[in-house]
């Protein structure tokens, strides 16, 4: 019987790649990691696996590529789904719908507002900060008294999607000159609970490394976003 072969193509600062890696680690799935230099030469493997977008992350399962981080998460949850494995999405359709809604909202709002806090200046930067903090407040309310977005016992895709942005918080806070502890302390408690999970802490990129890279980028006035 052939072994399951899982390969992940990623670029280290990417929040989209990080969530795929965390999902695999949480589900205890063995995989091979391949780093792509997305601003240099993309490998033939990446170009063949994702010819339409040529982007990471890509999951290659027994030679077959699956693209787009949230599609990959659904795929992982559907394929590795025995009783002993942690489920990233609830089985009840309504609860599942709520999970998908929040995961989608996070990507729509956090990504864009976060990016503008370091790429824009003046009024636009202030507006981006406001939007970003506002979104996190909404998420903090949604979390409520739960341990994780997935409940008290388990994480869900919502936890993975939001925590995948965490290494970037430090960069946005530093450049935007604000502290999330002041605005969303309960959410920061949730961050700490997530980071206490080894599959999460070992999979996230180093936040200082990200700040270092962004600072370099700002220095040379290059306006592209690494993901």
């Amino acid at each position: 019987m052939s072994e399951e072969k899982v390969v992940v193509l990623n670029f280290w600062p990417s929040m989209f790649g990080a969530r795929v890696i965390m999902a695999l680690e949480e589900k205890d799935i063995k995989f091979e990691y391949k780093e792509e230099d997305v601003f240099g030469d993309k490998t033939d493997l990446l170009l063949q696996s994702n010819p339409v977008h040529k982007k990471i992350p890509v999951l290659i399962h027994n030679g077959k590529p699956v693209c787009e981080s949230n599609i990959i998460l659904e795929y992982i949850d559907e394929v590795w789904n025995n009783d002993k494995t942690l489920r990233l999405l609830p089985s009840d359709p309504y609860e599942k719908a709520k999970c998908r809604f929040w995961a989608d909202l996070i990507d729509k709002k956090v990504f864009d507002a976060g990016r503008r806090t370091w790429t824009k200046k003046g009024k636009e930067q202030e507006e981006a900060k406001r939007e970003f903090i506002e979104t996190l407040k909404v998420l903090e309310t949604e979390l409520g008294e739960k341990f994780y977005f997935g409940g008290n016992e388990t994480i869900s895709v919502v936890d993975l999607v939001l925590i995948s942005y965490y290494p970037w918080f430090h960069t946005w806070e530093t450049i935007g000159d604000f502290s999330l502890e002041d605005h969303t302390p309960k959410l920061m408690d949730w961050v700490r609970r997530c980071l206490a999970r080894p599959p999460i802490s070992k999979s996230l990129p180093d936040r200082l490394k990200i700040l270092g890279r962004v600072s370099q980028i700002i220095k040379v006035h290059e306006f592209f976003y690494g993901y």
């Binding site: 699956v66 787009e68 599609i71 795929y75 559907e78 309504y94 599942k96 998908r100 809604f101 909202l105």
Partner: protein
């Protein structure tokens, strides 16, 4: 013994292709629902209360529980009403392929929607002259990629009845079924049998289904609406 009937309400807007996706999904599954037409400039109280985060249509309310975001609603419908047609294939890899192309159509903003203005087809509709010509080229390129993808991943597409309809079909017919009205309103043809034969044939087959004919928007009404949007927008841009 009385059967407990599900109460389903859809808050939608007649010209919205996203709203149309949900209507088609409900009709395909044979789900009876109450339709609430929303005036996007004057939204109902219940829409705002039930979808406070986004305040958008479409919004599905099932036995009092709100489900927001078009794709989330479509998945919810398929998972709650498990009768035929099923929106996704059984195999997880095939499901991922369907999700990929649905995502492509959504991300590449290939639909004209009254709700968002920065979509490539939206830009084609709301621009003129050189700017429009550039957007048309971009749009053609995205449709070319879609055409290639559909030909490669879903060859021999045949739709004989409702049971052959899946999620990608719903998105395609809802988003692109109105292409003739869009062409007329913007004066540019993007979908045709020569440049996009796979997509053209796919749409033709879907348009034969009675359930699709039921939700068809009157051509002239849509053309007038789109032309009005275009004129209003061009005027605003000129006055800015």
């Amino acid at each position: 013994m009385e059967e407990k009937k599900s109460k389903v309400i859809l808050h939608g807007m007649w010209a919205s292709t996203y709203s149309k996706r949900v209507e088609i999904a409900l009709k395909l599954k044979g789900i009876s629902y109450e339709y609430v037409e929303e005036d996007l400039k004057n939204k109902t109280e219940s829409l705002i209360q039930l979808n406070p985060v986004l305040k958008k249509i479409p919004l599905l309310v099932h036995d009092g529980k709100p489900v927001a975001d078009t794709q989330v609603i479509l998945d919810y419908i398929d998972e709650t009403w498990k009768n035929s047609p099923r929106f996704y294939p059984e195999d997880p890899y095939e499901r991922a392929q369907v999700r990929f192309w649905v995502s492509y159509i959504n991300q590449q903003e290939m639909t004209v929607s009254c709700c968002k203005v920065f979509e490539v087809m939206g830009r084609v509709m709301l621009q003129e002259g050189e700017a429009q010509a550039k957007s048309v080229e971009e749009a053609r390129e995205r449709f070319r990629v879609l055409e290639e993808g559909l030909k490669k991943h879903f060859p021999n597409k045949t739709i004989r009845g409702n049971d052959d309809v899946g999620l990608l079909d719903i998105i395609i017919i809802a988003s692109f079924g109105v292409y003739k009205a869009v062409h007329e309103a913007i004066g540019v043809e993007i979908i045709d049998p020569v440049n996009t034969p796979t997509l053209y044939n796919w749409i033709e087959q879907l348009q034969q289904l009675p359930v699709i004919k039921e939700v068809e928007v009157p051509h002239d009404r849509l053309v007038t609406f789109l032309q009005k949007c275009r004129q209003e927008h061009l005027q605003q841009a000129a006055n800015a």
